[in-house]
Symmetry: C2
Subunit: 199 residues, 2 copies
DNA sequence: CCAGGAATGGACTGCTTGGTCCAGTGAGGG
DNA sequence: CCCTCACTGGACCAAGCAGTCCATTCCTGG
């Protein structure tokens, strides 16, 4: 599976993945062919198959991995340091800023919906991203509990799930309606909710 | 644009739309061709173009309209009667039941992501659905305020947006991860949040 | 400096698929 | 009864696209 790559080869491969990701964000995966990627990245057909022997599916998987990684790194460092209420707010602003800027598709949902949902490799990528993201959020909720900033009766997992759902849903609706308010409102509510006393 | 349709013709057209919708739910829009639809609905190529003169795009739009309508009607009558807290809970159960049953794709996000996001007709369909859905939810939140079941300081629009985002995000994550807990947790939190006293 | 494998260019192929065309069939209104 | 027009069947076409192949160039270690 793994081939020997020189530094130059690795650079070309990376250029292909990033160029393909860019095109897919702009036009959607259905409207991007290998020839488009070839033209956009100044490569030739044989290079595409040299670096991705299994063809388009192989390349799309690499793009999915790249985008999944981007989703997390775009939110760093805030996502990894949710230790105080103020830092949660900073993360919230960061998330809104990211999605406001890219508008287009949340790569996560775009790729999930469009690559075969049944494909186990795709599932693995998405599951990994979801778990990692949930983990960061849960750690942050727990930190607020530990420091006494929120009610100790708060259910950590459920709260983390609710917050992630808010981001995901807000991003989906942003993409559908081009209105940012869903994401803003959903995040505001989900975060405020965390601080309200339990009954 | 509008052609004369006999009763028989209308039935055939409807059979095509429903069959196409079914196939798309199962396999995703990228993996459904006109020949698949033709085979699955026991029709011929010429019928497809007879009822949808502009071809595949035309048919896909009809499917989108059909699915958007389904999203609302599936939630009736509960969605239209959110006048007490118990009825909100009944709606919540209904939503979870629907998505648990269909698992596959939320037709909304599936179609949104895959048809051209830029296409104004698609946007119109999705916007209409979103607005209608938000409207039902906002009416329900207002009803609880009017009856005194929730704090009068609750922001109706923001709450409605947060709840819709919770459903959308929960559905997206269900589709991605095949786990129902995101939707359950997000809805539980969003609804509980509505009842908590404001500060 | 020279082999040998990595990297690149681009022509070519075969299949899939959206879309066209025309020849028939059938049912309802005059 | 029959004439018209909606309806149906399916062969056929052309374009787009993933994937193949081979010739050529580049780079690096020995």
């Amino acid at each position: 599976m793994e081939r020997v790559l020189t530094a130059k080869g690795a650079a070309t491969r990376q250029r292909i993945v990033e160029g393909a990701a860019q095109l897919i964000r702009e036009r959607g995966v259905a409207n991007v062919g290998l020839d488009d990627i070839r033209a956009s990245t100044a490569t030739s057909k044989s290079q595409l198959f040299h670096y991705f022997p299994d063809g388009k599916a192989d390349l799309m998987l690499a793009v999915a991995r790249y985008e999944a990684e981007q989703v997390i790194t775009d939110q760093l460092p805030q996502l990894a340091d949710l230790t105080t209420w103020r830092k949660w707010q900073a993360w919230r602003r960061r998330v809104i800023q990211i999605y406001d800027a890219q508008r287009a598709a949340c790569p996560l949902s775009a790729l999930t919906a469009q690559l075969g949902k049944a494909d186990p490799t795709t599932r693995e990528i998405v599951d990994g991203l979801t778990d990692e993201w949930t983990g960061y959020l849960a750690t942050g909720v727990q930190a607020l509990k530990d420091s006494g900033e929120i009610d100790p009766r708060v259910d950590v997992t459920r709260t983390a799930h609710a917050i992630l759902s808010a981001v995901s849903g807000g991003a989906t609706l942003l993409q559908s309606t081009n209105r940012l308010s869903y994401l803003e409102d959903a995040l505001t509510e989900a975060l405020d909710n965390m601080r309200r006393p339990r009954s």
